[in-house]
Symmetry: C2
Subunit: 196 residues, 2 copies
């Protein structure tokens, strides 16, 4: 199970065997069943997880109780409430498993230690952080500038693997529209395709 992460670290960060061992020593393996909560509102987010198998969602709830999905994660993605992880404040998010899944967890102390002692690991994470920042910018731009239909098209193009595994109503939630609206958008798009 650690193997998935090892392959990832070699490929993305060019880590050596001894560095991998360092990382493995401080990692914690965890299996979670579908629908199981990894984090809930009010709790402290003191881990960073690497998805070895399965899928997760990170969502917040509005005052009216509606859930709004901020982020998905599947194999080879990192999952955490980074905001709470960094600030040390209680989280305002929930994370749960969409399938039976396997995670590799790091506590804050171990994470910081790895960053401090393995330069290649730090470099890799810095690159990821920059990418992540860029993705947030793009998502905000998309939200304020594009109609729902385009946002959906781009989602499908950008995350084809997610699209195949995640219920449509969750994609709607991620895009900020209602499931019924997404259903109608898909119908329209299909009839346009047929016409051409």
């Amino acid at each position: 199970m650690f193997e998935t992460l090892a392959i990832y670290l070699v490929e993305k960060g060019a880590l050596t065997q001894s560095e991998l061992e360092l990382i493995e020593q401080v990692s914690v393996l965890k299996k979670v069943r579908k629908n199981q909560l990894l984090l809930e509102e009010g709790k402290f987010s003191n881990f960073i997880g690497f998805v070895a198998k399965g899928s997760f969602r990170l969502f917040r709830t509005a005052e009216n109780g509606q859930e709004h999905i901020m982020k998905f994660a599947i194999e080879n993605w990192w999952i955490s409430d980074f905001t709470s992880f960094m600030s040390g404040e209680p989280s305002n998010c929930y994370i749960d498993a969409l399938e039976n899944s396997e995670l590799i967890l790091f506590s804050r102390e171990n994470w910081d230690h790895l960053l401090a002692t393995i330069p290649n690991f730090k470099r890799m994470i810095d690159r990821l952080t920059a990418k992540n920042f860029e993705a947030h910018q793009n998502r905000i731009f998309s939200n304020i500038s594009e109609p729902a239909e385009i946002r959906y098209d781009n989602f499908v193009k950008k995350y084809p693997t997610l699209y195949n595994r995640i219920p449509l109503y969750m994609i709607a939630s991620f895009l900020g529209i209602k499931r019924e609206t997404l259903s109608r958008i898909r119908k329209q798009a299909a009839s346009k395709r047929d016409a051409s």
Copy 2:
């Protein structure tokens, strides 16, 4: 003019006098007139700026030519296309001055050098980066979960100083709605207030 930054650095980062001098030595002062471009699409974003006086906006343009404002900055805010700054790729943003303004600029080399040599500076910037990350999360959540009226209310509450200085149509652009819509939202809100 550097004084504004000095006060900021002492207050936010507890920097010493000698550290301030180090920073001042590598800073570049720049005055820009209203409407002047600081960065445009396709160019490289190789500076980080501290706003000593005035105000700026960072925006992108969609295919149809419409401008969408990603970010504002006034006194004591940092302004840059961080995405391009970090990646080294050409920018897809414009930055221009909303008023006659004064900036304190740092090149990438000097910026990195300051981070590497002044731990308190690094700590301060890390805190800001975390705050910024959190703000992005909140904006995304707001965009996907809140109706325009609430987004506007929250904007006014969160940035009362901005609200007083920036034309409404730019606030509309930031919120992802049309100026006419914002105008109507404000009218409704006013009549609600009068009724109660």
